[in-house]
């Protein structure tokens, strides 16, 4: 199978250490476009879409595989294998991809030299009293319901009526793709895999140095979650970005770029 086609792998530049960017739920590799210019020329930068997201091959979607984060971790490893990457990779991951990256690092020790985790959360659900991920199960059910409503009411139904165009015409397709998750079925599966995952047990096993970029005011991953990660990831650094929201690489890309530069300049711990 052609992984580079399946995961829509993009390689920018052919010199320098490899930066591998992993997008979060609801997004695609395009979300990194304000970050990558900063490393053009100095780094080889690799971007991709998970199967079920962005422009990845829809035909490759396998319900069983992508119902848990394991399948997405395998995508990440597949992408590295397809490019012959075996070590020295710097993973720059957003949101759920942070958990996916940590899983991949356990499966392939030595693949990642270090990881930059933007807005990570090992578990979105509350497990009181020890852990508060920020959400209850019914909140996530509400999210799925909202997503359905938007897919049905907006992309599938309203678009053709508003445009006076039949279903599947170019107009409705355009409106459809403007919603980040292009496929309602795969988006639901990814949403469940993301929000019902619990990767807290993985944390103590991780041996890769991590930079945690915590948003100062994040509705999805509050600062307590960043602190929890910092405590449980041995040798990690925690840096709080002056950002409201969950997408620093979009709303404050310069802060993310600076943090990455700073991290790359640091010597690896012995």
């Amino acid at each position: 199978m052609d992984i580079r086609h399946r995961n829509r792998v993009t390689v920018l530049g052919d010199q320098g250490p490899t930066l591998l960017y992993a997008h979060g739920f609801g997004c695609s590799q395009g979300m990194w476009r304000q970050v990558t210019p900063a490393f053009a020329g100095t780094h080889r930068q690799v971007l991709f879409d998970y199967v079920g997201s962005g422009q990845a091959d829809r035909q490759a979607f396998d319900l069983a595989r992508y119902s848990t984060l394991d399948g997405y971790a395998q995508d990440l490893i597949d992408v590295c294998d397809s490019l012959g990457l075996q070590s020295g990779v710097v993973l720059i991951a957003h949101s759920v991809s942070c958990s996916i990256g940590l899983m991949a690092s356990l499966r392939r020790p030595g693949l990642f030299e270090r990881m930059v985790l933007v807005g990570p959360s090992p578990c979105f659900l509350n497990h009181p009293p020890d852990y508060l991920g920020g959400f209850e199960r019914e909140d996530l059910e509400g999210l799925l319901s909202l997503m359905d409503q938007n897919f049905i009411g907006w992309a599938d139904y309203l678009a053709p009526i508003v445009a006076g165009a039949p279903h599947g015409s170019p107009v409705s397709t355009e409106l459809n793709t403007s919603f980040c998750s292009t496929d309602p079925e795969t988006a639901r599966v990814f949403a469940q895999a993301t929000f019902f995952a619990d990767n807290r047990a993985d944390l103590p096993q991780v041996r890769v140095p991590c930079l945690i970029l915590q948003h100062a005011h994040d509705a999805l991953a509050p600062t307590a979650v960043g602190d929890y990660l910092h405590q449980h990831l041995a040798g990690s650094r925690l840096q709080v970005l002056d950002v409201v929201g969950h997408c620093a690489h979009l709303s404050a890309p310069e802060q993310v770029v600076d943090a990455i530069r700073d991290e790359l300049a640091r010597a690896l711990p012995a």
């Binding site: 209850e136 909202l146 938007n150 907006w154 139904y157 509705a219 950002v243 409201v244």
Partner: protein, 554 residues
């Protein structure tokens, strides 16, 4: 610093807000402030997230913000707003992001409350779903009809007013244009060829004139077999009465025709066969009879149907005969033999009869088919022949062969029981003189008269035989004693001594000599009995005629 509120915003009937690129609130119009219970001017540090319940917050972070950054706008996205302590408000979100000169960005937010709108949308949605369902049902119906028409072995087609084909199922296509051009759009004339067209055109015109047509045509298939077709032309009449075309249903009725012919033939055979036939149901009720049945029995079909074949019962056979009959019919499914029946006129007849138990065509009901021939004449002929073989043609008495058979039978009984058997050998005295003087005819008449007198003198179980000429033998079955035998002998001598009246002749006198042999230790075979009786008769003649002599061995 929040921007100054525009007075215009407050007049707008929608929820409006302005934030920076991270969702920090810069301004909110009166409706939004009222919904969120925010004071005016807005305090610092408010964020749109504060209006969003968790699910909407996730959607905002995972979808809305990425879209705003990618495309600078978001249109008509469903969200839920829920101010602290307030109820959930479903909204449609429209937002637009604009970059500022300093590199920062602002976002304009418009929330349309969707209570009313949702109702409108759901009505539209329902209408669309209904239309889709109807379209699908229609497609399924058409697909089903198509499948149905193609599954039919019959020819189905439709022809318009110009006699062009508008529809043809697979069988029709195959029949008319096997492996060649599509029938659709073809003129009937071109599709069927001139010869066929000549047969069909008038029918087609009549159908177009509104008259349904049904007719049969014959054809010969590729293997040279004759085929029979029934064609139905059904006018396609519109609501205004006009005929737009006609439907054609062509049905292969070859098998039907052939089986009808076969049935006709079978019926003809049944009716015309010279043997009587009766078919009964499992209860023995007659279902049908043929002409020969009526001719033989005298019962018409009307009289016989519904009756039991017992109406032919002659009363000749005992119950054991019929028990055997049924037992064999059940066991072998067939009985055959001779049976005495009675005609309607009371006359007995003997039938050579076969009864078969059969199942009808559906293997459902048990039927009995009785086939019989009236063999009464043949039987009579046989009886006559048998009689001739065993009897004296002149007198009707038993002949030598029958006598010996009877004696053999009687002798076989002697072994088993204490019985007697006596043989009387008779030779007429003076017969030759009568015969010579009065002629053969009188002689024959005399012999017949002697036979009558002898027969009258003995019991029916005794046998009177004529061996030829003027020799007679009488076998007495189990006489009570030698005396009784002697008495019979004496009565015979006396009876034949009486003068005979033969036609015109009166007072014809003859006599008889009688020799008697009886079963005993020295006389145990037919030959011995006859020989000893013969010897005794000669002894009687020698002793002076008109006497009875017993054999010495007796």
């Amino acid at each position: 610093m929040p921007h100054a509120e525009s007075p215009d915003w407050d007049a707008w009937p929608a929820l409006l807000a302005q934030t920076d690129g991270m969702g920090r609130l810069l301004a909110a119009n009166a409706e939004l402030r009222a919904l969120a219970a925010w004071p005016s001017p807005l305090p610092e540090g408010l964020n749109l997230d504060q209006l969003l319940p968790p699910a909407s917050r996730i959607l905002m972070q995972t979808h809305v913000w990425p879209m705003l950054h990618a495309q600078n706008q978001v249109r008509e996205l469903h969200l839920i707003l829920r101010p602290a302590g307030g109820a959930a408000v479903p909204v449609l979100l429209n937002a637009k992001r604009s970059a500022q000169a300093d590199g920062s960005s602002t976002v304009q937010w418009l929330f349309l409350v969707t209570h009313e709108r949702t109702r409108f949308e759901s009505a539209l949605l329902e209408a669309r779903q209904r239309a889709q369902a109807e379209a699908q049902a229609r497609a399924e119906r058409e697909g089903f009809l198509q499948t149905l028409a193609n599954a039919l072995p019959s020819l189905v087609s439709y022809w318009d007013r110009d006699l062009r084909c508008r529809y043809a199922n697979q069988a029709q296509q195959q029949a008319m244009r096997p492996g060649s051009a599509d029938l659709l759009g073809m003129r009937m004339e071109d599709a069927v060829g001139p010869q066929r067209y000549a047969q069909k055109e008038a029918r087609a015109r009549a159908a177009l004139a509104g008259q349904a047509q049904q007719f049969e045509l014959q054809s010969v298939d590729a293997q040279g077999r004759r085929q029979h077709w029934q064609h139905d032309y059904v006018p396609d009449r519109r609501s205004d009465g006009s005929v737009q075309g006609f439907f054609v249903l062509g049905t292969d009725i070859t098998a039907l025709k052939e089986s009808a012919l076969a049935l006709e033939l079978a019926a003809l055979v049944f009716e015309r066969t010279p043997q009587g036939i009766a078919v009964t149901d499992e209860n023995g009720s007659i279902l049908s009879v043929n002409r020969a049945f009526t001719a033989i029995t005298g019962y018409s079909a009307e009289e016989a149907v519904g009756r039991n074949p017992r109406l032919l019962n002659s009363g000749t056979h005992d119950s054991r005969f019929f028990a055997d009959f049924w037992q064999q019919l059940q066991a072998k499914g067939q009985w055959s033999g001779e049976i005495w029946n009675r005609r309607k006129n009371g006359e007995l007849f003997i039938a050579l009869q076969t009864v078969n138990a059969v199942r009808d065509a559906d293997h459902a009901a048990q039927r009995y088919v009785t086939v019989f021939t009236d063999v009464t004449e043949r039987w009579r002929d046989n009886e006559r022949m048998r009689h001739l073989a065993l009897h004296d043609a002149l007198t009707g008495l038993a002949n030598r062969q029958m006598l010996e058979t009877m004696l053999t039978q009687l002798l076989s009984q002697m072994q088993r029981a204490d019985r007697r058997l006596a043989v009387l050998f008779l030779d007429l005295d003076g017969f030759k003189t009568v015969n010579d003087q009065l002629g053969h005819q009188v002689g024959d008449a005399l012999l017949k008269a002697v036979a009558r007198r002898l027969t009258a003198l003995v019991r029916s179980c005794d046998c009177v035989a004529r061996l030829g000429g003027d020799e007679f033998v009488i076998a007495l079955d189990n006489p009570s004693s030698g005396d009784e035998v002697a008495q019979v002998g004496e009565r015979i001598v006396a009876a034949l001594a009486e003068p005979f009246v033969l036609g015109q002749r009166e007072g014809v006198h003859i006599g008889v000599s009688v020799g008697v042999a009886q079963y005993g230790p020295g006389c145990q075979s037919v030959a011995e009995l006859l020989r000893q009786a013969d010897e005794a008769m000669y002894a009687a003649k020698a002793a002076g005629k008109g006497r009875v002599r017993f054999s010495a061995q007796a």
